[in-house]
């Protein structure tokens, strides 16, 4: 970051960074037990970097929580561990597999792992007694998210009520809670996909290598390119072929599609996104395709 500007204006990236850091500090100061939801994807990595900066040279004063679907990309879990080691934060893993085993959530064979994350996450938040959970959601991702506050109130059931949102004025956030309630906090609400990539480039930070182009064995399903995996057996008529691809989002590998791409550096990715005609979720997220309000409905249930 350039410290001094002749006209005392911050660049947009610096202004967004300043706003996010303000939010991190505010939550750390006002909430008893915050936790950062960390998937190892690009947005949550940017969040980790921002949290690192907010409290530097002290350590990040809260743990991080990953909801492991059991179907995560190994490359992503590896990056997760690097970040946790480097920053010396405590990692809590909430496993969907274990939640299924102990009956916290029910795997009926039809519900996606992504959806089973909801119950697993809520259970982990309750068990840890967390009163604030940071998430890397951005308002540009999806139309229901565009309505979400930076401080998003959740009731005792972890539910979001879009009609009862608190007005958010200036930078004065209201973190009042009743027993059993918690707040979801979205410090990078105002960032766009391009901002996230610009920031990753500027800060030169480590992200999982599946974001860069690589050879992968994939097959077509519902207009998406999915990875060949034991968790995702091909159906009749689906043929596996090797392609040069990369991912725009990371998540449950049975639902997260990749795109054909040769972008192998951050500038190449930025160039590709700048001219992309399809949103990152529209291109690659099977979970948003169930209905027009898929995201809203999941969020009402407690999805992050």
């Amino acid at each position: 970051m350039t410290a001094t500007h002749a006209d005392y204006r911050l660049s947009q990236l610096d202004e967004l960074e300043a706003e996010s850091i303000h939010i991190f500090r505010e939550v750390a100061a006002e909430f008893e037990k915050p936790v950062l939801m960390f998937s190892g994807g690009k947005d949550s990595i940017v969040m980790m970097r921002l949290a690192e900066k907010a409290f530097y040279p002290a350590k990040i004063p809260f743990p991080v929580l990953q909801v492991d679907t059991g179907y995560d990309f190994p490359e992503v879990l590896e990056t997760r561990d690097h970040w946790v080691d480097r920053l010396g934060v405590r990692l809590i893993v909430a496993s969907v597999e274990e939640a299924i085993k102990d009956g916290t959530v029910v795997d009926d064979g039809k519900t996606s792992r992504n959806r089973l994350q909801i119950g697993t996450l809520l259970h982990a938040l309750e068990e840890g007694g967390f009163t604030a959970a940071f998430g890397g959601g951005r308002r540009d991702e999806e139309k229901a998210r565009a309505k979400e506050r930076v401080y998003s109130h959740r009731d005792e059931f972890g539910q979001w009520d879009p009609k009862m949102q608190r007005p958010e004025l200036w930078s004065l956030y209201n973190g009042r809670l009743h027993e059993g309630e918690h707040m979801r906090i979205f410090p990078i609400s105002n960032w766009t996909e391009l901002d996230v990539w610009d920031y990753i480039g500027r800060e030169n930070i480590e992200i999982p290598n599946i974001y860069f182009s690589h050879q992968r064995r994939v097959f077509q399903r519902d207009g998406m390119l999915l990875s060949e995996s034991e968790h995702n057996p091909t159906k009749q008529g689906e043929t596996v072929e090797e392609k040069t691809v990369r991912f725009r989002t990371v998540g449950d590998l049975t639902l997260t599609g990749c795109v054909e791409s040769t972008a192998s550096t951050i500038p190449e990715i930025i160039e590709e996104i700048a001219i992309a005609r399809v949103t990152e979720r529209g291109a690659t997220r099977g979970d948003d395709r169930f209905s027009e309000a898929a995201m809203e409905d999941r969020k009402k249930e407690g999805y992050f």
Binding site: Y8, R9, S11, Q12, E26, P57, A58, L169, A283
Partner: protein
């Protein structure tokens, strides 16, 4: 590249969604999958046009009712600037939502329908933007295509609005004739209105000068978080994290810490891993002081000769945001910068009619979406400035202690 935050206003029929849709479309910020979804929904509803409002109405209940319930934030960028739009609904709960959107806006965009001219609604929106001290205002005279791009119609609205604006505090006003539907003067200059010599809306948004809008004179640093690593490498490190709310801070500056009144000097300013030579709004930095004075969250670092006056008796304008009315003697929680306390409503001086600017001194109960001038007594002294001077140290929120909900937005006139 810098960032411009703007809030839109205007009733639904003034073409706000169409305009936002066009700004997003023409800046290539709408993606094919989003457009396809909107097209197919429009078709399934039997519309013979693509309803761009469906792009912005993100909630199930909004789409069901065909109205915008809540503020939404949208993003687009041009090669010159990045923009955040606070898309505030024109319908129900207008004041509360407009106050929310305008609280962070650099610019307010009010739409009027050229056929209707100025309405009560347009005046009301201008009043609220002025009350919230949004430094730049654009009045977009829309639907010029429906009045044959008639210059005299534009001139009449121009004249009327300019006269009205003199009663308000609007430092910068631009009035632009447009057609959001046809694209006249939105991104490109219109071929139909060669009589108009001003900029297109997009050109104005890209170039409006906002650098001087923040107070760079009065140093204000509300302490947000004390950073004490207590690690071997940083054993004696003690820094105060916060966002600069006013002025320019430099190492070596003499400072005064409020409310304790202790003085010291700035030993250094850290921006994360780096030491920097100056900090100004809205930077989030960490300030270190030369002396080991007692400083904690809620304190304010400023200059000895230029400090806000700590006060517990606050005179303020407030916008009431909940259906349960505000009454004298009511007690509420208050959050001002990084301080929290309780506030007692000592007096409701008047209710401001945002349509006529009439001050109604009879009413002693303030309803939802109403604006009033009140006197508060607070449990903790607020380290405040008039809102007209500083939007950060001059603003506060009121919280209902029973429900935890934000019920009021306040703008300080003065503290005593």
């Amino acid at each position: 590249m810098d960032l411009l935050r703007f809030a839109t206003a205007g009733s639904v029929d003034d073409g706000k969604s169409t305009l936002i849709g066009r700004l997003l479309l023409d800046s290539k910020s709408i993606f094919e999958d989003q457009l396809e979804a909107v097209e197919s929904t429009s078709k399934s509803r039997g519309y013979d046009y693509t309803d761009l409002a469906l792009l912005t109405d993100g909630l199930r209940s909004e789409r069901e009712q065909g109205i915008t319930i809540d503020v939404a934030y949208r993003y687009f960028a041009t090669p010159a600037r990045k923009f955040i739009i606070a898309d505030t609904p024109g319908h129900v709960q207008y004041t509360r939502n407009m106050v929310t959107g305008a609280s962070t806006a650099d610019l307010g965009l009010v739409l009027v329908d050229a056929r209707q001219g100025l309405t009560e609604q347009s005046r009301r929106h201008a009043v609220i933007l002025s009350l919230l001290r949004v430094p730049h205002l654009v009045l977009a005279v829309n639907k010029m295509d429906l009045v044959d791009y008639d210059e005299s119609i534009y001139n009449k609205i121009h004249e009327e609005f300019t006269a009205f604006a003199t009663k308000l505090s609007i430092p910068d006003l631009e009035i632009i004739p447009i057609s959001a539907l046809k694209g006249d003067n939105v991104v490109n200059r219109s071929e139909h209105m060669d009589w108009y010599k001003g900029p297109s809306l997009m050109h104005h948004l890209e170039h409006v000068h906002v650098a001087s809008d923040r107070d760079l004179v009065d140093a204000r640093f509300p302490v947000q978080y004390v950073i004490r690593p207590k690690s071997d490498a940083h054993h004696d490190y003690r820094g105060y994290g916060g966002m600069v709310a006013g002025g320019v801070l430099k190492p070596g500056d003499d400072v005064l810490v409020l409310p304790s009144g202790m003085t010291s000097k700035i030993a250094g300013i850290d921006l994360h891993e780096k030491e920097i030579t100056e900090a100004y709004p809205p930077m989030s930095v960490t300030v270190r002081l030369e002396d080991d004075v007692d400083v904690s969250r809620g304190d304010m670092i400023c200059r000895p000769a230029n400090a806000p006056k700590p006060s517990q008796d606050i005179d303020a304008m407030i916008c009431w945001m909940t259906t349960e009315p505000l009454k004298p003697r009511q007690k509420l929680a208050i959050k001002h910068t990084t301080r929290v306390g309780r506030a007692l409503v000592k007096d409701i001086q008047y209710r401001l009619d945002v349509n006529t600017l009439h001050r109604d001194q009879e009413t002693k109960e303030i309803g939802v979406n109403e604006i009033a001038r009140v006197q508060l007594r607070t449990t903790v002294p607020l380290l405040c400035d008039p809102y007209s001077k500083n939007r950060t140290t001059g603003s506060f929120i009121l919280i209902d202690e029973a429900t935890g909900v934000t019920v009021g937005a306040g703008m300080i006139n003065s503290g005593n």
